[in-house]
C-alpha cells in the first residue's frame, strides 16, 4: 500500500471507545454485577517468608453471611506466566514468600462480611529468614525461597558472548567501566484489578477480568481448575490502565472462579489499592556494570554488560526480563562485539515483572549515561557521537537482531534543533542543563510465551448486508487504543467510515486468539491480521462488484462507503450492495486474517528474547533546573522525537508518546517501590499518596516530533509507540543534571537527597552518586556466538556440555 493516499490511516481519529469513556458508560470490571453475586476478599501474609503450619477456617466459615472459605489445599496445582516458572499458587500451599502473598479467600454476601471473616481465619506461621536484596540471595541459603532456579536463590543466570570481547576491549583506544542502579517502580494503573466469575451448572465458567492477556488467563484457569478450555470463557474488560501490571494470570482470578464453582453463585473481587501494590509485577530494581571500549572517534569495539535483577518472590516474566536487560543494547549504535551476563535473584518482596519497557529501561539508562561520559572523555559532542555510529537500517546486529527501518538519526536531529542543543548544551549556566538520550523498543516479541507454531494474532471479519463490518480479535484495549487501530485499518481497506466498523475484542469465546497487550505488539500484529482479513473481504466484494459493473476488479476503488470505477467514479454501488451481491452468490461474507512474525536469524540458546518484526526509535532532550541548596530537580521541558514507522492514528500516537514521557519522568525523579528492611520487608508505601507519581504540578511541557520511517513489516509501515518513548527520559534527565551541576547521578530515581550527596562529594573532588560495586557472581560459561561480520551464522559455537539447539524453555520473552 502506498503511503499518503489513505483516507483514514494517518488522520487523527476519535477512538472508537472515546464516547463510552467520556460519558462513564464504559463498563470496567468493578462496574459489573450479576444477580446473587458474592463478594470475595483475600487474606494475605503478614510475613515476608514463612512456613504455613496450619490454617483454621472454622470460625470464618461460621460467620453469618459467609458462603465459602478457600485455602491453597483446594487449588494445589501451580501456575505462572512462563512455562519455565510455574511457581505460583492461587493461594499459598505451605509457604508464603512476601508480605501480601495470598493465603486464604472468603466469599460472602457483602464485602463488609467478607472482610470481617478474614479476621476469623487462624493461620499458624513459622517465620523463616527473609532475603532482602539480591546480594543476600547470592549466598547459599538454608531455606531457598524456591526449590528451583539456577543456583540457590538465583532464579536465572544468563551468559552470552558475541565475539571475543576481552580482545576488543584490549585494543580499544579508550575503555570505561561504570556502575549504575535503576530503582524499582510500579505501574500504578488507576483501576485496581477486579474479576467476576460465573459458573453455570452445565459446566461452563465465565470470567470477566481486568487483564491485558485473556488468552494466558484462559490457559491458567484450565490448568489450575482442571477444566477443558472449551468450557471456559474469559472476557477481558476494558483495562483502566495496564502498563504491564495486568499481564500475568493472577491468583485472585483463579480464586473467584473456584469460589463460583463451589457456591454456584457469581463471585466478584476488587482489589484494594494496597493489594495492587502487592500484586506488583513492576520494574525490576537492577544493578548494572558496564565496560565499554571505543575508538578515538567513539565507535564501540566491545561492550561487556552485567545486570543483577531483584526479582521478588516469584518468577513471573522474570526469565524474559533478565534476557531483556541484555537484548537491545545493540540496536541503536553499532556494537562490534558484545558480552552479556545477567542474573535474577529471588527475594522476599512483591514479585517483579514486566512494566512498560520490560527489562530494557534499566540497561538503556546505563548505556545512555555511559555514552554521555564517553563523549566527554573523547571530547565529542554527545549527539554527534551517537549520530556517527548509528546502527544501520536493514542490518543484523552482533546478537542477531534484524533491524528494518531506523529513523533514530532523524529523531536526534529533530530534538537537537527543537531544544537548540548546539547553542545551549553546556552553556545554560549553573543549575540549568540539557541532557540527551536515545532508545529503541520492540514492535512485539518475535516469539510466543509458550512455544508453538501458530499465529500470534488472529482476526475474523464479517460483512453485513447493511454495509456494516464487524472485526473480531482477541486483542485487549488497555487504553492505548488498540480497538481503534483495528477499526482504522478495516475502514481504510474497505472504504467505510470508522463508525461503520464494530470492534469485538478480548473474548475467548468470540474472538480468535491474540496473545495480549504486551511487548508493544498489538498495532503491528493484530493490525497485520486485520489488514489481511480486510484485504480478503475486499477481494471477494471486488469480484462481485466488478462482474456487475463490467469493470476490471483491479480498477475498483473502495471509498466513502462505495465501490466504484476509478476511471468513471459515477459507475459504482454502495458497499452494502456489493455485500448483497457477494452474499447472494457465495453466502455469508466473512474472512479471516492472521499474523506470525518472521523468523529471527538468531539460532543460539537465548536467541528468543529480543527479536521483533520492527524496532521503534526515540530520542529525547530534557532540560532541568536544579536547586543546589535543596537538591530538587525540576524539569520544565522535554523534547522527544519518536520513529513510529507510520501513524495509523496520529492522535493516539501523540497520547502514547506524551504518556511515556510522563511515566519516564516519574521513574527518573520520584517513583520508588520501597521496602523497610528493618521492619521485616514491609512495603513502605502501599498507597497513591505515599508512592510519589507526577501530578499536574510536576509534569513538564513536552514538544513531540513524530518521525515516520515506514517499516515493511508493519501494517501501512507502522511500528510501536506505547513503550519506547519512556526509555530515553531517565538517562536524558540524568545527563541534564550533569550538565547543570557537574555531578553524576548514576541511579534513578534522582531524588534531592542523592543530588545533595553528590554535590557534597563534588566538593571533595569527585561528584557522583551511585553504586560502587557489583557483587561476585559465578557466571556460567558463556554461549559463544560469532557476530555476522565475523563469519557467524547465528548458531552457538560448539562447547562442552552446550545443547545443540535452542531449547523450548529458552524461547521465552
Amino acid at each position: 500500500m502506498a503511503c499518503g493516499r489513505e483516507r483514514v490511516v494517518g488522520k487523527p481519529q476519535r477512538k472508537v471507545d472515546a464516547v463510552g469513556k467520556v460519558t462513564g458508560r464504559t463498563r470496567f470490571a468493578d462496574d459489573l454485577a450479576l444477580p446473587r453475586m458474592l463478594y470475595c476478599r483475600l487474606l494475605r501474609s503478614p510475613h515476608a517468608h514463612a512456613r504455613i503450619l496450619a490454617i483454621d477456617t472454622a470460625r470464618a466459615a461460621a460467620l453469618d453471611g459467609v458462603r465459602a472459605v478457600l485455602t491453597g489445599a483446594a487449588l494445589p496445582l501451580p501456575f505462572g506466566i512462563l512455562p519455565v516458572s510455574q511457581d505460583e499458587h492461587a493461594l499459598a500451599l505451605d509457604r508464603v514468600r512476601f508480605i501480601g502473598d495470598p493465603v486464604a479467600a472468603v466469599a460472602a454476601v457483602s464485602e463488609e462480611i467478607a472482610t470481617a471473616a478474614l479476621d476469623l481465619i487462624d493461620v499458624t506461621y513459622e517465620p523463616l529468614p527473609a532475603i532482602a536484596d539480591p546480594e543476600a540471595a547470592i549466598a547459599p541459603a538454608e531455606t531457598p525461597i524456591h526449590d528451583y532456579g539456577d543456583a540457590g536463590n538465583l532464579h536465572k543466570l544468563v551468559s552470552l558472548e558475541f565475539g571475543d570481547v576481552a580482545e576488543a576491549l584490549a585494543r580499544a583506544d579508550h575503555v570505561r567501566e561504570d556502575l549504575f542502579f535503576y530503582g524499582g517502580s510500579t505501574h500504578l494503573a488507576m483501576e485496581q484489578h477486579a474479576a467476576l466469575a460465573d459458573w453455570s451448572p452445565d459446566g461452563k465458567l465465565t470470567l470477566w477480568s481486568s487483564t491485558q492477556t485473556p488468552h494466558y488467563v484462559h490457559r491458567a484457569l484450565a490448568r489450575v481448575l482442571e477444566l477443558p478450555p472449551a468450557r471456559i470463557r474469559v472476557i477481558a474488560t476494558p483495562n483502566g490502565g495496564g502498563f504491564g501490571g495486568k499481564s500475568d494470570p493472577f491468583g485472585h482470578e483463579i480464586v473467584v472462579a473456584k469460589l463460583a464453582m463451589l457456591t454456584g453463585r457469581p463471585v466478584k473481587i476488587t482489589l484494594t489499592r494496597e493489594e495492587v501494590f502487592y500484586c506488583h509485577r513492576g520494574r525490576h530494581p537492577t544493578l548494572m556494570w558496564v565496560r565499554t571500549g571505543v575508538t578515538r572517534d567513539g565507535r564501540i569495539t566491545g561492550m561487556h554488560f552485567r545486570t543483577l535483577l531483584d526479582g521478588g518472590g516469584y518468577g513471573s516474566y522474570g526469565v524474559a526480563s533478565t534476557y531483556y536487560t541484555g537484548a537491545l543494547q545493540t540496536v541503536t549504535y553499532q556494537v562490534e562485539r558484545y558480552k552479556f551476563e545477567g542474573a535474577r535473584a529471588f527475594t522476599n518482596k512483591a514479585p517483579c515483572g514486566p512494566k512498560r519497557g520490560h527489562g530494557t529501561p534499566q540497561p538503556r539508562f546505563a548505556l545512555e549515561v555511559q555514552m554521555d561520559k564517553l563523549a566527554e572523555d573523547l571530547g565529542i559532542d554527545p549527539a554527534e557521537l551517537r549520530l556517527r555510529h548509528l546502527a544501520p537500517p536493514n542490518s543484523v546486529t552482533a546478537n542477531y537482531l534484524r533491524i528494518g527501518s531506523m529513523g533514530l538519526g532523524t529523531c536526534i536531529e529533530k530534538v537537537m534543533a527543537g531544544a537548540g542543543w548546539k547553542a545551549r548544551h553546556g552553556r545554560l549556566g549553573p543549575g540549568r542543563g540539557l541532557g540527551l538520550a536515545c532508545s529503541s523498543y520492540l514492535s512485539g516479541a518475535g516469539l510466543p510465551i509458550y512455544w508453538n507454531d501458530m499465529p500470534h494474532s488472529g482476526v475474523q471479519l464479517k460483512c453485513d448486508r447493511g454495509g456494516g463490518v464487524t472485526v473480531f480479535c482477541g486483542s485487549t484495549d488497555i487504553g492505548q487504543g488498540s480497538d481503534s487501530i483495528l477499526a482504522s485499518i478495516v475502514a481504510e481497506v474497505l472504504g467505510v467510515a470508522m463508525g461503520d466498523v464494530s470492534v469485538m475484542t478480548a473474548d475467548t469465546d468470540l474472538t480468535p486468539v491474540d496473545l495480549g497487550s504486551y511487548s508493544s505488539r498489538v498495532t503491528l500484529m493484530s493490525g497485520n491480521a486485520a489488514l489481511q482479513a480486510a484485504e480478503r473481504a475486499r477481494a471477494i466484494l471486488a469480484r462481485h462488484a466488478a462482474h456487475k459493473l463490467t469493470v476490471p476488479a483491479e480498477r475498483l476503488v473502495f471509498a466513502a462507503g462505495r465501490v466504484f470505477d476509478a476511471e468513471h467514479p459515477e459507475t459504482g454501488m454502495t458497499l452494502a450492495e456489493a455485500v448483497q451481491l457477494a452474499e447472494a452468490e457465495e453466502g455469508t461474507v466473512g474472512t479471516v486474517g492472521s499474523y506470525t512474525p518472521p523468523r529471527s536469524p538468531g539460532r543460539y540458546r537465548g536467541a528468543g528474547v529480543g527479536p521483533s518484526p520492527a524496532y521503534s526509535y526515540s530520542a529525547a532532550i530534557a532540560e532541568v533546573a536544579v536547586d543546589p541548596d535543596t537538591g530538587i530537580v525540576r524539569v520544565p521541558k522535554i523534547w522527544v522525537a519518536h520513529d513510529v514507522g507510520r501513524c495509523i492514528n496520529p492522535a493516539t500516537v501523540m497520547g502514547q508518546v506524551e504518556g511515556s514521557v510522563y511515566m519516564g519522568l516519574g521513574e527518573a525523579l520520584m517513583e520508588d517501590m520501597a521496602y523497610r528492611p528493618n521492619r521485616r520487608l514491609l512495603h513502605k508505601i502501599p498507597s497513591l499518596l505515599e508512592y510519589k507519581s507526577p501530578t499536574t504540578l510536576e509534569m513538564c511541557d513536552v514538544e513531540t516530533y513524530l518521525i515516520e520511517d515506514p517499516d515493511p513489516n508493519g501494517p501501512f509501515g507502522a511500528k510501536e509507540v506505547g513503550q519506547g518513548p519512556l526509555l530515553p527520559i531517565p538517562p536524558a534527565v540524568a545527563n541534564a543534571v550533569y550538565d547543570a551541576l557537574g555531578v553524576r547521578i548514576d541511579e534513578v530515581p534522582i531524588t534531592p537527597e542523592k543530588v545533595l550527596k553528590a554535590l557534597k562529594d563534588k566538593a571533595r573532588g569527585a561528584g557522583r552518586y551511585g553504586p560502587d560495586r557489583f557483587p561476585d557472581i559465578t557466571w556460567p560459561a558463556p554461549t559463544v556466538v560469532a557476530p555476522p561480520w565475523e563469519g557467524g551464522d547465528g548458531r552457538a559455537a560448539p562447547s562442552p556440555g552446550a545443547s545443540p539447539s535452542p531449547s523450548a524453555s529458552e524461547r521465552q520473552h
Binding site: 472515546a18 460519558t23 503478614p46 494503573a189 501513524c647 497520547g655 508518546v657 509534569m699 513524530l706
Partner: protein, 182 residues
C-alpha cells in the same frame, strides 16, 4: 499487616434515607448509613460512571460536584448529602456530549478512561467559576486528580479548547496537538 479484630458482622438492618438533587433529578435513596457518597452512587443508585482509585482520598478519581464544588466522593458520607445538589459524569451530557466531553474524546484526553469522569467534573467546576483559565490555573485546579496514561497534556488542551467553545469562540485543535511536530 496486623489488622484490627471486629469479629461481628456489620449491622445492615438500619438504613438511612435521604433525597439528593442528582444530576437535576430529585432522587430519594436508602442505604446503610456508614456508606460513602461514592458507594451510594455506584452501589445503591447504579451510577457506575463515578470510578474509584483508592477510596482514601488520594487520587481524585471519584471526584463529583457537591453543591457545585468538586469533592472526593470516597471521603463524603452520603448521609451528609440530604437535600444537596450532586452532579456526576452521567449528568454532564444528555443525548449529546458536553463540550468538555467532545474535546476530551477528540484530543485523546481519555486513554484508559478510568480517571476521566473525575477530570471532567473537576474541569467543569473550574470553567464554571473561571471561563478563561490560564494553563497554570488549569494545572492547579486539576492537581488533585491523578492520570497515569496521558501525562496530562492532552487534558489541558482539551480543557482550553472546551473553554474557548463555551465562551462562544470558534476554536479548533492546533495541528501539532493531533499530528505532533514533523
Amino acid at each position: 499487616m496486623p489488622r484490627p479484630r471486629p469479629p461481628r458482622p456489620p449491622r445492615t438492618s438500619d438504613r438511612a434515607l435521604i433525597t439528593l438533587d442528582l444530576n437535576g433529578e430529585r432522587t430519594p435513596v436508602a442505604f446503610a448509613p456508614h456508606k460513602t457518597l461514592l458507594e451510594v452512587l455506584r452501589e445503591d443508585l447504579g451510577l457506575t460512571g463515578t470510578k474509584h482509585g483508592c477510596e482514601l482520598g488520594e487520587c481524585g478519581t471519584c471526584t463529583v460536584l457537591l453543591d457545585d464544588q468538586p469533592v472526593l466522593s470516597c471521603l463524603v458520607l452520603a448521609a451528609a448529602c440530604d437535600g444537596r445538589r450532586v452532579r456526576t459524569v452521567e449528568g454532564m451530557g444528555g443525548s449529546r456530549l458536553h463540550p468538555l466531553q467532545e474535546t476530551f474524546a477528540d484530543l485523546g484526553a481519555a486513554q484508559c478512561g478510568y480517571c476521566t469522569p473525575g477530570f471532567l467534573l473537576a474541569a467543569r467546576a473550574l470553567l464554571e467559576r473561571n471561563p478563561a483559565p490560564t494553563r497554570d490555573q488549569i494545572r492547579e485546579a486539576l492537581s488533585g486528580n491523578l492520570c497515569r496514561c496521558t501525562g496530562y497534556l492532552k487534558i489541558y488542551e482539551a480543557v482550553e479548547l472546551a473553554a474557548a467553545r463555551l465562551r462562544g469562540e470558534t476554536a479548533e485543535p492546533k495541528p501539532e496537538t493531533l499530528y505532533g511536530l514533523r
